[in-house]
Amino acid sequence: MSEIALDIRAITKRYADHVAVDGLSLQVPKGTIYGLLGPNGAGKTTTIRITLDIIGPDEGSVAIFGMANTDRGAIDRVGYLPEERGLYRKMQVRRVLRFLAELKGIAAREADRRIDAWMDRLQLRTPEKDWSAAKVDELSRGMQQKVQFIGTLLHDPDLVILDEPFSGLDPINAQALKDVMVELRQRGKTIIFSTHLMDNAERLCDSVCIIARGRKILDGTVAGVRTEHGVQNIALGVSSGRDRVAALLQESGVVERMDDQNRFFELTLRRGADPQALLRSLVTAGVEVQRFELVQPSLHQIFLEKVGATGVEPGVTGNG
């Protein structure tokens, strides 16, 4: 059994007029990239803030690497990039970063070494220009985002939590961010990020959790979620016995929807149905199968189906 990096146990947070998080539990295995998916106002940011002990839950508890999150030692191992980003505008970049490192217990000299390394890596310090001496104000938005990202990672956290990290990033910075995330995972770090962009999640995440209205809709590995929760579509092509196929499919009782497209059938299977059994029954019946393709649904489709069913609470946006 792999070690658990983050263990959220039945947390609930109520506000005056709505419940932001409602009995949410999830476990993030160590060394994975974990996606927290949900529409705006689903409770992603609240969940993250509770995790970081920025706000306290009304019920439930959170453990980070087995320690309670109220333990400052636990929080020091976490790096956090909030959705709404900002730095002290009048401060020098290096001083801001040093300050952020000191808040995590890193001494100034060690911080300086790491700042240099990161500034080099993200092209904020080139032979022509060293931005670390500039004031935050003088940096472009994209550069400020990079600086903020460096601030998140300066203390080499074991658990990195990024709230909507891709929002507002240009494609180049987004790519740089992905590269760093993948590299961190290879070094055994755990990364949790929230997003409402499914294709990012699908490409990056090992596991995901979809939440809506503060409740968990589903979670698990991306592959597992797809097979377990996705509607299974099958593209079926036959070369002979075409007339019998429609009747056979009806009799099998596992086909929910059938779309006869003349040369192909597009089938939607009932939940839990076994596509292999269907294939076997077709073959036994003497149908010459030319094509039998299992079309895996995208996370996007699952998301739409699942969240669409619960609905997005109108008017509630919280902070993200």
Binding site: A16, R49, L52, I54, I55, I75, D76, V78, Y80, L81, P82, E84, R85, G86, L87, Y88, R89, K90, M91, R95, F99, L100, E102, L103, K104, G105, Q148, G151, N319
Partner: protein, 442 residues
């Protein structure tokens, strides 16, 4: 603890490094001095140049009062103590400044003619003004002066003083006292030097401790307003730039609040120390100057250790009380305009206090002084001031400190809660009802 230190360090260094801080620290005292010194300097210049140069005495008394007045004024100008002030000797040395008034003796019925001639002379700047003496002057001391310099208090005082002395001399003579004796009698001066007595004995002059008390009250007021608002702006900046969320994901909001209050307070103390050094330097010069005048000897108020401790305690407690409130206001708002408005109630407490400084100074043992030195919102400013002027009963000091300590605790408790919730809130400023909920929830 290290993290608290990191916050304190940031708050302190980022403020001390700004141009604004350097300019206000260095030029603050210069500016303050200018405000305090310039008017009196100008008055002194005015008195200095007075010397009654070029003015005419139209003497219609027929009793020889004119020359007597002129002589008295001349003597006053010569003995003007201000001549001894360094930097002022140049003008005092020149004979012009002690020039005699020209005396024109006329018959009572010719006064009108002499006056119109003099008026023309004043208009043509040949003389600065003229003084008319007539029989009424001899009888009741009433005289008229007209000229360009009537608004110069120094010059008018010299004319008036000269006339008074001349009249006195004349009356003494009429009473049969003449010569040196009359002179001696006419020259009598009265000076009341005040001294303060406390239960510990005598110490310091009353005036000096009054000024001292006022300066302290005003300084405390300024520091609290200046640095309280500084905190407000700091909190607001952290909130609007969203840096607050990153910071409180590493440390508790209470640590951030404490670090901010301590850091900004240290900036205030630094500034005060610099100013204190300036003040010591200046008052040494000022005392030397006063001594060289041979004027009323000014004894510096004797400040006891208890007073210094009390002063520091009141500054620290008072600053913390208001700083916490300002921080809470900053956390409630999301723009500078909103914050200015929301800070009004806190500002009102301070302004109400400073308005009452003057009446309390005149009656430092009165009921108002007692009440205001115990109420926690005004005591940090009023009590040190009252203490410098009078002996404050021990029970009053204890009650004042106790109520302030309780209020400080309360304001920290309250604002820490508002701060914790408000720091992450955006949008509309909360109503009182919502605020109450914030306080309950956190």
């Amino acid at each position: 603890m290290d993290k608290l230190l990191a916050v304190v360090k940031r708050e302190y260094l980022e403020r001390v490094r700004t141009k604004w801080f350097i300019i206000s620290t260095v030029f603050g005292p210069v500016f303050l001095l200018a405000i305090m010194i310039l008017p009196s300097l100008l008055t002194m210049r005015g008195m200095q140049s007075a010397g009654a140069t070029n003015f005419r005495i139209i003497d219609a008394t027929g009793a020889g009062l004119g020359p007597l007045v002129a002589a008295q004024i001349r003597e006053r100008a010569l003995n003007n103590p201000l001549r001894n002030i360094p930097g002022m000797t140049r003008r005092a040395d020149s004979t012009r400044s002690v020039a005699e008034a020209q005396v024109v003796g006329v018959a009572p019925e010719a006064v009108a003619a002499a006056e119109s001639t003099a008026t023309l002379d004043v208009m043509a700047s040949r003389i600065r003004g003229y003084l008319i003496l007539d029989s009424a002057t001899v009888a009741s001391g009433k005289a008229r002066y007209a000229g360009r310099n009537t608004s110069s208090l120094g010059e008018m005082e010299q004319v008036e003083g000269g006339l008074r002395a001349a009249l006195l001399a004349q009356r003494l003579e009429a009473a049969g006292i003449t010569g040196a004796r009359a002179d001696a009698l006419a020259k009598v001066r009265a000076d009341v030097s005040t001294e303060r007595i406390t239960s510990k004995g005598r110490g310091g002059s009353g005036i000096a401790s009054l000024v001292f008390g006022f300066v302290i009250a005003f300084l405390l007021y300024m520091m609290i307003i200046l640095y309280g608002q500084n905190i407000l702006r700091g909190v607001l900046e952290e909130k609007t730039t969203r840096v607050a969320e990153v910071v409180i994901s590493s440390i508790s909001p209470e640590t951030l609040l404490a670090g901010k209050v301590i850091g900004v307070g240290a900036v205030g103390l630094t500034q005060q120390l610099v100013w204190l050094a300036f003040a010591c330097g200046f008052s040494a010069y000022g005392l030397a100057m006063a001594a060289s005048l041979g004027a009323v000897s000014v004894t510096m108020p004797q400040v006891s250790v208890l007073q210094v401790v009390a002063l520091l305690l009141y500054f620290l407690l008072g600053y913390t009380f208001y700083a916490a409130l300002f921080a809470a206001v900053g956390a409630m708002c999301s723009s500078q305009e909103e914050a200015t408005q929301a800070a009004q109630p806190v500002m009102m407490l301070l302004v109400a206090t400073i308005i009452l400084v003057q009446p309390i100074l005149t009656a430092p043992t009165g009921t108002m002084a007692t009440v205001m030195s115990i109420l926690p919102f005004s005591s940090p400013i009023i009590m040190p001031m009252v203490m410098s002027g009078t002996q404050v009963p021990a029970w009053q000091l204890a009650a004042s400190l106790a109520s302030l300590a309780i209020a400080v605790y309360g304001s920290i408790w309250l604002s820490a809660r508002i701060y914790r919730v408000g720091l992450l809130m955006t949008g509309k400023r909360p109503s009182l009802k919502e605020l109450a909920r914030w306080v309950r929830y956190s």
